[in-house]
Each structure stands twice: as C-alpha cells, then as structure tokens.
C-alpha cells in the first residue's frame, strides 16, 4: 500500500492538479492550518507557514524557468 492508496490522498491525486507538488500542497494545506489552530502563533508554526508559501511561489517560478 502506498500513500496514494489512502482515501483522501487518492481523491486529491485523482481530482487535483495532476501535478505532484500542487497536489502535495493541497494535501498539506489543511494540516498546516490545523497545526496553527492547535499550537497557536509560535516560531515553528510561522516557519511552517512561510515554508508553505515559499514552496508555492518557488515552484511556480521553477515552472516558468523550465518552460
């Protein structure tokens, strides 16, 4: 069994962006928000949030450079 076989993961991979990075961001997004709700504002949650946005921006720019 691979992570792709898990119920929510399979739905996102089947109906999502057809792109591994964007699909992963779609899956991780709610988890980060849940983490922020649970832990509140801290250095860890802020770094995680910044990393998420940086990943999105960085990957879009990477796509641009690649095409």
């Amino acid at each position: 069994m691979t992570p792709r076989d898990l119920p929510v993961v399979s739905v996102v991979f089947d109906a999502g962006a057809d792109d591994r990075v964007f699909d992963s961001l779609l899956l991780v997004g709610p988890l980060i928000i849940a983490l922020i709700v649970a832990l509140g504002r801290s250095l860890v949650t802020e770094v995680v949030a910044i990393a998420y946005i940086a990943m999105f921006v960085g990957y879009t720019l990477y796509q641009w450079v690649r095409t």
Binding site: A15, G16, A17, F22, L25, L26, G29, P30, I32, I33, I36, V37, R41, E46, A49, I50, Y52, I53, F56, T60, L61, Y62, Q63, W64, V65, R66, T67
Partner: protein, 516 residues
C-alpha cells in the same frame, strides 16, 4: 415547454441537493465551537433543500441534457433558489435563540441576531453572500454565533467558485470575455475542453489559493479564525467580515497591505491563473485583462490617493496611500472590505463626493471576466473603448477598406467585431439603466435629505456590482423594505450579468401567459 421544465427541474434539484450538502458539512462548525444549540436549526435548514432537491431530481432525472437556453435559466433560477434556501440557517438559528432550544443551554439573543427573525433580512444576507456582494443586515458581526459567521463566509466562497464556473464553462459567449478571450492562437478556448475538468481545475486552484491566502493573513497578524474567514471572502471578492468594522477593526498596516494581493488574486481570470501556474508567467502582462487589472488598479489608486491627500481628509501621504489603495482595490475587485470607517479614520460616506464617485466608478468597471469580481468587467469596458475608437476612425477610411478590430491579439473581422461590440454595449446599457432606475427608487423610498445623491448612487452601484461597500444606507433598520427587495434584484442581476435573469423572466412571463 415540458422538456424545458424537466431539464431545469432536474438541474435545480441537483443544485438544491448540493446546497443541503454544504449545510451538512457546516454542522462541523457548531460541534467544534460547542454551539450545540444551533445544531437542530442547521440540520433542519439542510434537510429542507436536500428533500426538495431530491424530489425534483427523482421526478425529472430522465430529462434531456441542458442547452445554452436551459443553462441561463438554471443559472438564474438556481442562484435565486440558493439565495432563498440559503437563508434558512439565518432564519431558523435566529428563531432558535429567540425561542430557546429545549434541553440545550441557549445563550441570550442579540439585536444583531434578532434582525434575522425577519425573513426578508435573512434572504438579503443569504443573497448577498451567494452573489458575493457583502452588503449586510447585521449591525455587529462580532456577536454572531461562530456558525453563522462561518455560514456567511461559506456562502461567499461557494458563490465565488460558482460564478467562475458559470462564466468560464457554462455561459461562455461572444462578448462575455470568457469565450473569446481564450480563443486566440496561444490559448485554448477554456481551461480544459470539458466542463467537468474545467470545474475540477477551478476548484483546485481556488482551494490552493485559499490556503495561501489564509497563511498570508495569519502571518500578517490576523488571528487564525479571522484569517480563515477573511481569506475565503477576500479571495471570493465577497467582503463579508466577522468583525464589526470590517478590516478596520484590526487597524493594521500589515493586514491592509496583505489583503491587497488576496483581493487581486480573486479579480484575475482563473483561466489565466491556470496558465500562470503552468509556468506561463507571460500572461501577467500579455493577457489584456490581467494587464489592465494592474494598470487600472494602479492608476485608480494613484488618483484616489491624490484626491484624499491633496484635497481630502488625510494629512499624511502614507495615510492617503494606505486607505486610498485599499479602498480602490477593494472596490475595483468588488470585494467590499472597508478600512475607511469613522472608528479609526474617516468613513467612506464622509469622503469628498469626487472621491466617492471614483470608488463608485471602480465598482462599475469591476475586475476580469472569468474571475470572482463583479461590475461590467474589464474586457467589456476595453471592448467598448476600442470599438468606439474603431467606429470613429472608420470615417477616415474609404468604403472599400478592409479593417479589423484587434482585441487581445485577436484580429476580428467586421461581423465578429460588431457582435463583440454589440454584446458589450448591451450589457453596459442595461447595467446603467438598472443603476439609474435603482437610484431613483431608493431616493424615493429613503427619508428625504438624509443621504446625498452620491451616497445613493454609490450604494446601488455597490449592490449591483456585487461589491458590498456601504455609504451607511444598508442596514436592517436604515434600508426600507422596498429598498431591500430592490437590492435583492440588483445583487441577483449583477452576479449573473443581467442577460440570464432577463431570459428567465421572459420565459416565465411568456410561458406563464402573463404577456404575449
């Protein structure tokens, strides 16, 4: 006739089922926040559209596939029905608190919540949400139960996706900007060839942008509940807030500036977002509408800044920039978030008339077609300007000259140009006609001398442009009943770009035998 009723009935049934499903999903919110007294009301609210929708679907499930005519009627009737049935949580929750729920501790009611015991106020709030308008019947959103704060946000978010789907995949037609804009050589006609995959693509982009927006606002200093709600309503360019004074409540420069890109994301056509996410960043400047989103917002904000600083209420250039930029972008993207309120600085209604009219003009034009923004849309404005210039220049050419109108890299022949120009002109003329009629109507119903013509025009433009900025007229007590009913109509036609509503009304009246 029967075929049409069956097709429309079947699709309407599916829409109502989906609405019931959204309410069922929302049951998580009262459970998480411990608002158990709201559960029965929300459950009943969900079951009503679910049952009616199921009934309609089962009755007409073998109906023919919808054509464009059906699509328009389903869109118009669907939006209206969703507005009406979406009011049930407001109405039933308000009455539950008013009457008390047996066996469950119910908190004391508030005047804000009590306003929703009036069905008209509840329908107004729901319609305002699903059309992404943001005008509200609440006095103080902060005292609303979290469940209703969420439901208001959710209506705008779902309505935002709905309108992108509607304009990009269902009602694409010449002059609408969503069909023709992507027909040029470099682009495919729609995001994807089929409606299903188009809808799927819009969803994942919208959800991904929502997560990004939530995190941006949270990093800017907004509490997480506020960030979730304002990111959803900001991206959907709806403008509902969970605080009493909209974004002004936070009185934070960082939050004000963080919301600007969120609103801009919502006002750019989603097919363009798709291309950008595929790495085609050229569309940021190569796409006519996107280029103008930035150009027009930049010029408009600079103009408003000049009005507010040189002749207006703000004493420092930065204060004028902060409020001018935010309010122009909020208006032009048709979001309706407000930072200019009396509690922190000078309310919009207190700005000089020319500054108010600049904001009203922004609401009139709106954002890009294929986005969540309202107004007449940039592509129509640009088509009109280019078309008029083309017509005037025609006089200087010999009759035998073959001329083409160029819009966004497409070279249109006489027939295509005429069709595009005509469609854009019809929408703009209808838009202005309804705006003028609505302004007259509101002037007649409001107490004389209380509001200026600029205030009234601003408010009607805000409702019809699905913006939600208020000069202080809209409220449960301040807006007369006739005004509320008129605003329901303005919000409805504004969201559907007028034509589908007129097609539906004509069909109902004609086939109902009300006129021949």
């Amino acid at each position: 006739m029967n075929g049409t009723v069956a097709t429309v009935g079947r699709d309407l049934g599916r829409i109502l089922e989906a609405l019931g499903g959204l309410m069922l999903i929302s049951l998580v919110v009262p459970i998480v926040w411990g608002e158990y007294f709201l559960l029965p009301a929300l459950l009943v609210s969900a079951l009503v559209p679910l049952a009616i929708g199921r009934l309609l679907y089962r009755r007409f499930k073998d109906a023919e596939a919808p054509g464009r005519f059906h699509g328009m009627i389903v869109a118009a009737l669907g939006w209206f029905s969703v507005g009406v049935f979406g009011s049930l949580p407001f109405l039933l929750i308000a009455w539950s608190v008013q009457l008390g729920v047996p066996g469950v501790a119910t908190p004391a009611g508030t005047a804000t919540l009590a306003a929703f015991t009036d069905p008209l106020n509840a329908v107004f709030e729901s319609m305002s949400g699903f059309t992404g308008t943001g005008l509200t019947m609440t006095d103080n959103e902060e005292v609303l139960p979290r469940t209703l704060q969420w439901w208001r946000t959710f209506t705008e978010w779902v309505g935002g996706v709905g309108v992108i789907v509607l304009t990009t995949a269902i009602l694409s037609r010449p002059g609408s900007g969503s069909l023709t804009l992507y027909e040029s050589e470099a682009r495919s006609e729609k995001i994807h060839p089929s409606i299903v995959s188009t809808v799927r693509t819009i969803w994942w982009i919208f959800i991904l942008f929502t997560f990004i927006s939530i995190l941006i606002l949270w990093l800017a200093g907004m509490p997480i509940w506020g960030a979730i709600n304002h990111a959803m309503t900001g991206l959907a360019t709806g403008g509902f807030s969970i605080t009493d004074n909209s974004i002004a409540t936070y009185d934070s420069v960082a939050i004000d500036f963080a919301l600007v890109p969120v609103m801009l994301l919502g006002s750019i056509a989603f097919p363009v977002h798709y291309l950008i996410l595929q790495g085609d960043l050229r569309n940021l400047y190569a796409d006519l509408q996107t280029r103008w989103v930035f150009g027009y917002m930049g010029i408009g904000s600079a103009l408003l800044w000049a009005f507010l600083y040189l002749a207006g209420p703000y004493e420092t250039p930065f204060a004028a920039l902060r409020y001018g930029l935010f309010q122009f972008v909020s208006a032009a993207t048709c979001t309706g978030f407000q930072t200019a309120v009396d509690a922190t600085n000078v309310a919009l209604g207190g700005w000089p008339s020319y500054a108010q009219l600049t904001v009203a003009f922004a609401m009139f034009v709106g954002g890009a077609a294929g986005s969540t923004a309202g107004g007449i849309k940039l592509i129509r404005g640009l088509t009109l300007v280019k078309g008029i210039r083309h017509q005037i220049a025609d006089v200087f050419y010999p009759e035998s000259a073959v001329r083409r109108l160029e819009i966004n890299g497409r070279r249109l022949n006489e027939e295509e140009a005429s069709r595009e120009f005509m469609e854009a002109a019809i929408i703009v003329v209808l838009w202005i006609t309804f705006l003028v009629v609505g302004t007259f109507l509101l002037l007649l119903t409001l107490p004389s001398g209380e509001y200026s013509v600029a205030n009234v025009l601003f408010e009607v433009a805000s409702a019809q442009g699905n913006v939600g900025l208020s000069a202080g007229i809209t409220g449960p007590d301040s807006l007369p009943t006739l005004g509320k009913i008129a605003f329901l109509f303005h919000m409805w036609i504004g969201r559907l770009e007028i034509i589908p509503v007129l097609v539906m009304l004509r069909t109902v009246f004609k086939r109902g035998g009300l006129y021949r």
